[in-house]
Structures are given as C-alpha cells and as structure tokens.
C-alpha cells in the first residue's frame, strides 16, 4: 500500500493539507491525513492503526505512543512550536498586560475565561501552567469555562459569549472576530511543541520522504505563515 497515512492533531489542518498537496504535485503518491484529537489518534495507533506518520499536539501523547513501541527509532523530532495568547472579542475595549499577579478574574468580571480543557487538551494544560506560574490561577479557576478543544474556546470568545480566552497564536491569527490582548511569556509554561515521528507499522515507501519534505524550507513557509514556529 503506497498511500501515506498521516495521523495529525486537528489544529494542523490548514498548512498540512497545503503541504501534502504540494508534495503530491512534486513527488506523486497519495496522502490521506486523519485529523483528530491527539489522544484519540495516540490510542488508535496503540490499537494498530495503519498510520505512517504521527504528529501530536503535545509531547505526552507522543511519549505514550513511543512507550507502546510504535515509534520508528530515530524518526521522532520536535517539529513545530506555538505561542499562547490571550484574546478578546474584536470589539472589546479591554487592555491587559500579562505579568505576575495579573488580575484576570477582575478583567472577566462576571463573565468566563474560555480555555481548552485544562486537563485534557494541550492548550488548556499550557494555559493553566502559565496562570499558575503567574499566580493568577487560584483567582480565575472558578471562572474558567473549559471547552472541548481550543477551537471551541476560540468560538466562545468570537461569539462574544466569553470576554476573554486563552488560545494559540495560530488560532487567533485566522479569526477576525477576536483580537490578541497579549501574549503569554514563553517561560511561563513548558514549551509548546508538536512532535513528529514515523511509526513502526509504516509501510508506505514515500512516508520518510514526506516527513523530510515537511521539514524542508518549502513546507516550512506554509507553517510559518499560519503562525507556527519552526523548531530546530
């Protein structure tokens, strides 16, 4: 079977689709990308999914897959990075500087702070860690609305339901109905990393080529344009 099957975190869809199309145009072959939550994909790989490449939205689920012996030796690397931002509806007059002891609770008033699930979704986990580091978590915790994923959190802000939300820079870039209030300091949370690896069950001859292509400058442009950082 020479179809390359890629299991990728859902937030990669835009640029990854473009990269796949470009690769196909150049090298031929067929690429199917299954986008879903990293946890679901990881469990599927553990359950024998016929995937060639796995791109996780955080290190934990890649570790999980590696521990299950599914990562092809020497193929795993930290590929993309992202930054975490605080967003508000585009028409919001709110301004806030993120710093130690920031009064987020006061800023949302009787509204909610929209985040991705703080236990389950990477964006939520990073956000919580950041707020803890900044000493703001205890005050804001009762006002946090945890969404299924970071896109849903974005939707809560975009629809005006929540006055503030914590999402990735990549999401904020593309949503005109929100504006970035401030960026979280990089050292306030573990680095946001999208690891990539080829899997042991990979059979598609071109899988390694595609992995290599993703790291090529040609592809890199696409991801940078979408707001990702390229990790070396």
């Amino acid at each position: 079977d020479d179809k390359i099957v890629v299991f990728a975190a859902a937030s990669l869809k835009g640029p990854l689709d473009d990269a796949a199309a470009a690769f196909k145009a150049a090298k031929g072959g067929d690429i199917a990308i299954s986008y879903a939550g990293s946890s679901a994909l990881a469990k599927q790989i553990e359950g024998g999914a016929p995937a060639d490449l796995f791109i996780s939205a955080d290190l934990d689920w890649m570790d999980h897959v590696e521990k299950a012996g599914q990562v092809k030796d020497g193929t795993r690397s930290n590929w993309l990075g992202n930054t975490l931002v605080l967003v508000a509806p585009a028409d919001s007059a709110l301004t806030l500087k993120i710093a130690d002891g920031v009064d987020l609770a006061g800023a949302v008033g009787d509204g909610k702070l929209a985040m991705a699930d703080v236990k389950a979704v990477p964006a939520g986990k990073y956000g919580k860690a950041s707020l803890e580091k900044l000493g703001a978590w205890a005050a804001i915790e009762p006002k946090v609305a945890q969404a299924e994923n970071v896109r849903a959190a974005l939707a809560l802000v975009a629809s005006g339901e929540a006055p503030l939300g914590i999402v990735y820079q990549t999401d904020a870039t593309a949503e005109p109905k929100v504006k970035v209030v401030d960026t979280f300091p990089e050292d306030s949370h573990k680095p946001i990393i999208y690891p990539i690896a080829q899997l042991t069950g990979s059979t598609a001859p071109l899988a390694a080529d595609f992995l290599a292509y993703l790291k090529s400058p040609e592809a890199t442009v696409l991801f940078e344009k979408a707001g990702f950082k390229i990790l070396k």
């Binding site: 939550g37 946890s39 990881a42 934990d60 689920w61 570790d63 999980h64 909610k112 929209a114 699930d117 236990k119 389950a120 979704v121 946090v144 609305a145 945890q146 969404a147 299924e148 849903a152 939707a155 809560l156 629809s159 005006g160 339901e161």
Partner: protein, 233 residues
C-alpha cells in the same frame, strides 16, 4: 470503587439534574409536536418534521455551535431571553439541560408520534360522540393509550441526556459544579494519558444509573401496557 470523589459526586448529581430537567421540560413540547405530526396536516409540516430531526442528524458539536450562536448571550434568541426574562443559558446547567433536551427531542417525538399514530381512532371517535372536545379526547383517550410510546420516548430522551456530550460541551463548556456532567468528566479523563481507570469508574457509574432508570421504566411500562394493551401473559 465504592466511595466517590467529591468531583464525581458533583458530576453525578448534575448529570441527573440535567437529564431530569431536560426530559421533563421537553416532554410537553414533545407531546405537542408529536401530536401535530401524527394527526394534523398543516403548511410547513415537512419543515417542522425536518427541524425536529436535525439534532439527530447533525454532529452534536454542530448543534452545540448553533445553540451557541442562537441561544448564547449575544445570540438573537439568547439576548432577548436574557434582557426580557433574565433567562441565561450560557455556561449554566440550564444550558446543558437545553442542549440535552434538544439532542433527545427527535427521539422523544418519534416514539410518541409512533404510538399516537397507532392509537385506534375509533376510540377517539367514540369519545367525541360522548361530547368530549378534541383536546379533552387527546388528554383522556389518545395520551393514555399512547403511554407505552411516551414512556419509551422519555427513556430514550433521558438516556440521551445522560450520555450527551458534544453539544453540551460546545454550548456551555465544562465548568465543574456548573456544567460538568458525567460524559464531560469522562472526556477529560480519556484525554489524559493514564486517565482510563478514572474514566472507566465514571462509565460504570453511568451504566448503573441508566440501568436503574431502565428497570424502573420497564416496570412502569409493564403496568401501563397491562392496562392499555392488556398483557395476557
């Protein structure tokens, strides 16, 4: 296994409350719509029928998103409800109940409609000749005879409400103590590496709850059908 964490207790309590309220609140609308679809011909019937089925057909997340757009505090309906009546769904357990009720609505309506359609019209005719106006006939003849279907609809809708996840979390998020139901709690655990045991605990709990509800409903249904259909066993 037998002692619950406070978080679990809250989620269980909330889930039950939401499922009960969702089912109870949607029942009158369900009866009305089922009756209209079963017994009336009106302009827009096909449309109504389609709308009722939408939550079944659309991915729950989409339904949740549409709810957010329409019933959210800034949404066209939500803002009116908020300003005029002070009713807010967003981020409240009431919103979770709304989502659950809507997701179960097609199931509720179908079951009731089906059993209304199977009620012997000759009995309704008999009631009318005894002087009962149509609404009274509906309440005293059609509804009691459709009880097996009403019970079935309630079970389906209650079960759906217990298990509903996608629309709920999209519409009202996952706020422990306010909108975190058993399914959203399960979702959280399954997304944490190694969280499977905790998730399984909750799965077992919701199975137990719904089994209890099922057994109860079956007993009820048996009594009802002994009356209505005359179970000869």
């Amino acid at each position: 296994m037998l002692s619950f964490t406070p978080e679990e207790l809250v989620a269980i309590h909330l889930s039950l409350k939401i499922a009960l309220v969702a089912t109870a609140a949607s029942l009158p609308f369900g009866l009305l719509v089922a009756w209209a679809l079963a017994r009336r011909d009106f302009w827009g019937k096909t449309l109504l029928n389609g709308i009722v089925h939408l939550p079944l057909i659309l991915p729950p997340v989409v339904t949740g998103y549409l709810l957010l757009l329409v019933m959210g505090r800034k949404g066209p309906v939500g803002s009116i409800l908020d300003q005029w009546f002070g009713i807010v769904f967003a981020f409240r357990w009431t919103g979770a109940a709304l989502a659950a009720g809507i997701m179960g609505f097609p199931l509720l309506v179908r079951a009731i409609r089906l059993s209304i359609e199977l009620v012997d019209r000759r009995l309704e005719q008999a009631a009318v000749t005894l002087g009962a106006p149509p609404i009274w006939v509906f309440i005293t003849v059609t509804l009691p005879l459709a009880l097996p279907g009403i019970i079935a609809g309630i079970i389906l809708s209650f079960g759906k409400a217990l298990g509903e996840f996608g629309a709920t979390i999209t519409f009202v998020s996952n706020i422990p103590g306010e909108t975190q139901t058993i399914p959203t709690a399960i979702y959280t655990y399954t997304n944490v590496p190694g969280g499977d045991t905790a998730a399984m605990r909750l799965v077992v709990i919701s199975i137990v709850i719904s089994m209890a509800a099922l057994v109860l409903s079956e007993l009820l249904a048996r009594r009802v059908s002994a009356k209505v259909i005359g179970d000869e066993r």
